[in-house]
Point group: C2
Chain length 342, copies 2
DNA sequence: CTGTTAGCGCGTTCAC
DNA sequence: GTGAACGCGCTAACAG
């Protein structure tokens, strides 16, 4: 069996409490005693049992980021930023995956697993607003994601409509007339990332006094292969277009691949704009013009909201707690080489 | 306070034990009793305390993948594969980050945190073989990574030398004569990913009866920006080259960006091969020729080795346990559009 | 400065 | 089929 604190205590001729005090430094301990304890701990190869400490303390100093997919660069970057912020504070970040489907997200939420964390940042993708409204959890929870969310939960997102509008306006201002939207969808009233960005695409057209042709709206899940497929489909169906607004940089990567394989030049024949400003988007060929949300600010806000909820003492959507806050991070356009100069 | 099992027991007029039995299903419970317990649990909003269960059970049904960086696509893909395999088994994967430096990795290892998991898969990047040899941990541990590793630990990696040799041979066979290696380094005897791949690059030249010019070896950390910088530097210094072997796909992305900005055509002017076959490598412009390690097999092997170690009962590098196993996954070349047909 | 007591919430063990 | 007692390992609270 692994040695426990009592074992160390016995070996050092003190009580378990004293061992604890030496190890945590929470109370003053005589130099001689301390030395004996440390020696004994080293001799026995003692290792603290964190599970026991957590049970006792009711705290784990760990925050979880729950994302739909481990292998999506957007979440990887988010995780890295959050980890940096938490580390500055002596806390840890762990990342868990749901699987992106509504089913999977609901299952993840149902798990008592979240109790293992001081707080959870949940990236919502599959669940509907109604699902979210019904959530029950006793752990401090902050929602991330571009959906419209029920008022009762803290929520951080970016300004999707404004960003899409900027992107599309830029395409129209630089001479494009037929701007396809890859990843577009019916701008449903209750939001979601794609509907919001589609709304921005529409709005920019309205601003410019035009109306986009409906066949320029190409639905696609946010992954690069579907971006390529979307371009192939536009070409196959003979739909004319001189620009693409890809609703995510991930899609844009595939769009660029699709245009390249068709021999279309970017930006001369077709301009392209993405959204998200992933770290690697600067290195696509050509370098991707995109919309940059305030990533650092979003990460910081998410943690601020989480910390504000305390260590879970206040219970679910507690009426005694502060009212939920909904933060929308600003966006800006970063012109690069997939668009012509304005 | 949150309700505990005793609270539920009292409400249902039974003992805590019975509640536990109802919830876990480990023992038979009368239908009527069971109904009352479930009702009481629901009424009180009872939630199982996992920390307590873990303390009691000494098991968490959770495996940790510890990686250098959350925001590197290679690890994201690995995590996704592992999560899928574990989920099939009712277990969970969490991902933690070290920070890639030797310091950070050592600190991570020292953390008692790992006790929170039934097993740990550690991606080693910063630590030396000597550091790894000194590791002490009471948790089942399997090492991942391309370094040479001490015999005492289970270790899964890919065949770096063979892969690099394949890649370079392909470049030489398709007419290139000056093959730069981006991410190359002195092939140190004790290994590491870059030395091993550099050795493969050398070996391919030897096979072809040539010797690569030393100035074609360009060191670079594995990130796309350094890939671009490497190309810029080659061009700035006037070093002639007609092919690049980028030791990772990540670097290759940057290499392609660097070549594009210089107006060099791929593969006509310069051929490029990467290594790792990331999911998105097919979508670079042009599509990247690369070396594909047996990803699925590596993930499966890692878990097999971990499970073989049991639930940590056997202690550190236990002499009573099975001998450590070192698995080297095979590699194959995937020719795409950054190289000419053979 | 150090020890004693007690309990965090659950589940194994043994009794009925 | 159900319950009582005890302990997993650690640490507050209260002695002294």
């Amino acid at each position: 069996m692994k040695p426990t604190m009592s074992d160390v205590a016995r070996a050092a001729g003190v009580s378990a409490m004293t061992v604890s005090n030496v190890l945590t430094g929470r109370r003053r301990v005589g130099a001689a005693t301390r030395a004996r304890v440390q020696q004994a701990a080293a001799d026995l190869g003692y290792e603290l049992n964190l599970t026991a400490r957590h049970l006792r303390a009711g705290r784990t100093d760990t925050v979880a980021l729950v994302v739909p997919h481990f292998d999506h660069p957007y979440y990887g970057e988010l995780a890295a930023r959050l980890a940096r912020l938490l580390a500055a504070d002596g806390r840890h970040l762990v990342v868990e995956q749901t699987g992106a489907s509504r089913q999977a997200e609901l299952a993840a939420v149902g798990q008592a697993r979240w109790q293992l964390y001081d707080g959870v940042l949940l990236s919502v993708v599959g669940m509907s607003a109604a699902d979210v409204a019904d959530l029950e959890t006793s752990v401090p929870l902050v929602l991330l994601g571009e959906q419209e969310m029920p008022a009762r939960w803290d929520h951080v997102r970016m300004d999707n409509v404004a960003g899409a509008r900027l992107a599309t306006a830029h395409l129209l201002a630089t001479g494009s007339r037929r701007v396809a939207i890859v990843g577009g969808t019916d701008p449903a009233p209750e939001g979601g990332m794609m509907p919001a960005r589609t709304a921005g695409w529409s709005a920019a057209h309205t601003d410019a006094g035009t109306v986009p042709a409906p066949e320029l709206l190409v639905p696609a899940p946010s992954d690069p292969f579907h971006g390529r497929d979307a371009v192939r489909r536009l070409l196959r169906e003979g739909i004319a277009f001189d620009a693409v607004f890809a609703v995510t940089d991930t899609l844009a990567t595939g769009v660029l691949a699709g245009l390249a394989e068709a021999g279309l030049r970017v930006p001369q024949d077709v301009q392209v704009v993405g959204f998200d400003n992933l770290a690697t988007s600067e290195l696509t060929v050509p370098a991707l013009t995109t919309v940059d949300p305030a990533h650092e600010q979003m990460a910081a806000d998410a943690l601020r909201l989480l910390d504000r909820l305390g260590t879970g003492r206040s219970g679910v959507g507690a009426p005694d707690g502060p009212p939920a806050e909904h933060v929308t991070a600003p966006v800006r356009l970063i012109p690069r080489a997939t668009t012509r100069p304005a």
